[in-house]
Subunit: 223 residues, 2 copies
Amino acid sequence: MSNPQHHHEKPVLYSYFRSSCAWRVRTVLNWKGIDYEIKSVNLVKEEQKTLEYSKLNPLKEVPTLIIDGLVLTQSLAIIEYLEETRPEKAVLPKEPGKRALVRSLVLAIASDTQPVTNLRILNYLGDDRKEEWTKYWMSYIFEGIEKQLKEVAGDYCVGNEVTLADICLVPQVFNANRFKVDLTPFPIIQRISDKLLELEAFKKAHPFRQIDCPSELNSKNNT
Amino acid sequence: MSNPQHHHEKPVLYSYFRSSCAWRVRTVLNWKGIDYEIKSVNLVKEEQKTLEYSKLNPLKEVPTLIIDGLVLTQSLAIIEYLEETRPEKAVLPKEPGKRALVRSLVLAIASDTQPVTNLRILNYLGDDRKEEWTKYWMSYIFEGIEKQLKEVAGDYCVGNEVTLADICLVPQVFNANRFKVDLTPFPIIQRISDKLLELEAFKKAHPFRQIDCPSELNSKNNT
């Protein structure tokens, strides 16, 4: 990997306000109190496909994080790196069984849901199927997650501590609302997401608080 | 999570011979020399949707691993657990920057490709689009991965040690071949996958070596 920055420089996050993957990393950076600079990559304008950006991120995705002289891609890989190098304000529990439980919820969202319903997939799928497809898959996974949460949730997804599962949940709920997925069958998911949005690290990471959020959205409230 | 087994019992892996997610876990168990028993869940016969199985795995997916008195789901969460509790024969490098690199390749496959092209997605997509969809998305991601590998590959995906990236790559290449994706633009991917299949842990995990592999496939060679 290239080495475009020195270690003492402020981390740079290539982000798009509405990208749920970038949102996860924003939340973790805020949660851990890591100061960072945002560079916006407009996915709708396909700025992720420029030669310059694709050199940083060969899969042409956001986020990319420049930190410690490294170019890091894939939100979960970035977050595990931050957890390993900045363990304060942990987003994973200490005990391996609990870590596995948190990661299983994380992957239900980050592997089974988001990649199946993201912008590039929906564009390729075609306009006529976007809505039905999104509703079907988001509901399918939320049904499984809600069942798991019935057994393990406290104030947050796993007990009473904020974990990476919560950090992934909030953007997924936002997207579900955006696509008008009926969330009434998933009261635990809704309750936890609402509670998380009261926390400063989550508020600050919200799309409507981003520098690249269009002003007409900015003026709406955080739902 | 329920506690159906005692710690001293042999781990049980709920697997399907052709599931690439189960395959990843089989490879890691073999690699680390962990003895285990397989219980087959036939995805084509929809055995993953039975009430009994969905209690173990609310998302109705394979694999599920019963180990140390825990019920673990999601292949990557299971593998991270095995890595944390059985660190010998590591599948992740020690250094955080390298771990992030390996995990970014892992997620390109396990998040960006497999969930978008798995059995349930293709069934829902419809027969008329299965082939074009699979070819498009597998090629799209392989293009990005091949570019990354140009910079970081040695004998294997990241240098000369087997990592989790390799363990995820082999099933993805198998699936690409199954769907007749043209792999000639991806010589590094092909070369590494071929080399990995010479290793005993990878051979033993291959679908055609599984107890639930139909005999007509069993008799074919490992390609």
